[in-house]
């Protein structure tokens, strides 16, 4: 299975979910997704997704000074982002449940 294609389909939801607990800057988010197991996710896709979700009005952003380098832009969820996350998480669970049911019938354990 081409994991990259599956990731592309679910990346918006993963990014929203990863930002839900606390705001993060771009590289912080990349590390977070990697540590969660999305090791194949492309950095460029994550940074681009962040920009698109922000442009769509789903995220807040705040420039925070850093001791270790240039100021960083932290992204967090706003109310619209939380609503979107709830809806897309519900859709994702429905898909997982349906596909899992099909796979169980096709590949008995």
């Amino acid at each position: 299975m081409d994991k990259t294609q599956v990731l592309k389909g679910i990346l918006d939801t993963a990014v929203l979910a990863a930002l839900a607990p606390a705001p993060k800057y771009g590289y912080d988010l990349v590390r977070n997704l990697r540590e969660a197991g999305l090791t194949d996710v492309a950095e460029a896709s994550v940074y681009g997704t962040l920009r698109r979700l922000y442009s769509a009005g789903l995220l807040t952003s705040e420039i925070v000074e850093s001791d270790e380098g240039p100021p960083r832009k932290y992204y967090g969820l706003n109310d619209r982002g939380r609503v979107e996350l709830q809806a897309s998480a519900k859709t994702w669970r429905e898909i997982v449940e349906a596909v899992d049911g099909i796979i169980r019938k096709g590949v008995p354990s």
Binding site: G26, S45, K73
Partner: protein
């Protein structure tokens, strides 16, 4: 940070020269973080061109502008022809006596030559489209449908609608898509041009036509640049 990383970041910065400076700076700051301990940035992030292409795709930005300096000689030659045809079209369009008869066919030829060419010329293609649309709209409105006295009312309505929509769009939270104010400004410009064309009267018809075309072209170009 080594010179390969600096070169990589410079390349990414150049390839993203058209996006919002704040977005570009925050991306570069993230990449600096990520590449801090890296010897070979290409091994980590892939070639800068590929990185930027994927970034643009994911961000919903036009991908074609990711390689502005890498056009082939054949494309450059085709662009040169397109520029010449476009220049000829504009000359014919605004030269006395030739504007209605020769303008549209030459513009159509220019448009077909221009389609799908290199990114930095696409504003020009948008201008061609604006000119064509403006000419057709002008001919349609002036000769077939409305009597001239309807122009001021039409212009006033367009301008009023544009101003109202512009303020509605810029004051709501969160703000609407960035191209919307420009689209609205475009409509307003067309309305203002119609008003101006009418005020110039019959003797100034060509001047009014020019203003209407210029407004359409300016609006179209701005919309493309901000897309």
């Amino acid at each position: 940070m080594n010179s390969r990383v600096d070169d990589y970041l410079d390349r990414v910065e150049r390839l993203l020269s058209d996006i919002d400076p704040d977005d570009r700076e925050s991306l570069l700051a993230d990449l600096r973080d990520q590449l801090d301990q890296t010897e070979d940035p290409v091994a980590t992030l892939g070639p800068p061109e590929d990185f930027v292409t994927e970034y643009r795709r994911s961000a919903g930005l036009p991908v074609a502008t990711a390689h502005p300096t890498e056009e082939s000689a054949a494309i450059r030659a085709a662009d040169l022809v397109s520029i010449l045809v476009l220049a000829l079209a504009v000359l014919l369009l605004f030269s006395f006596g030739g504007q209605i008869v020769l303008g549209p066919p030459v513009l159509v030829a220019g448009w077909f030559l221009a389609r799908g060419s290199v990114p930095w010329l696409r504003t020009a293609w948008t201008i061609v489209a604006g000119l064509m649309a403006g000419e057709l709209a002008y001919i349609f409105l002036s000769r077939l449908v409305w009597p001239n006295r309807a122009y001021p009312l039409f212009g006033i309505l367009l301008v009023a609608g544009a101003i109202a929509a512009f303020f509605h769009n810029t004051t709501r939270t969160p703000p609407g898509p960035s191209h919307l104010p420009l689209a609205i400004m475009w409509v307003g410009l067309v309305g203002a041009a119609l008003l101006l064309a009418t005020s110039m009267g019959r003797g100034g018809a060509i001047g009014g036509l020019f203003v209407a075309f210029a407004a359409l072209a300016l609006g179209g170009g701005l919309m493309y640049l901000r897309r």
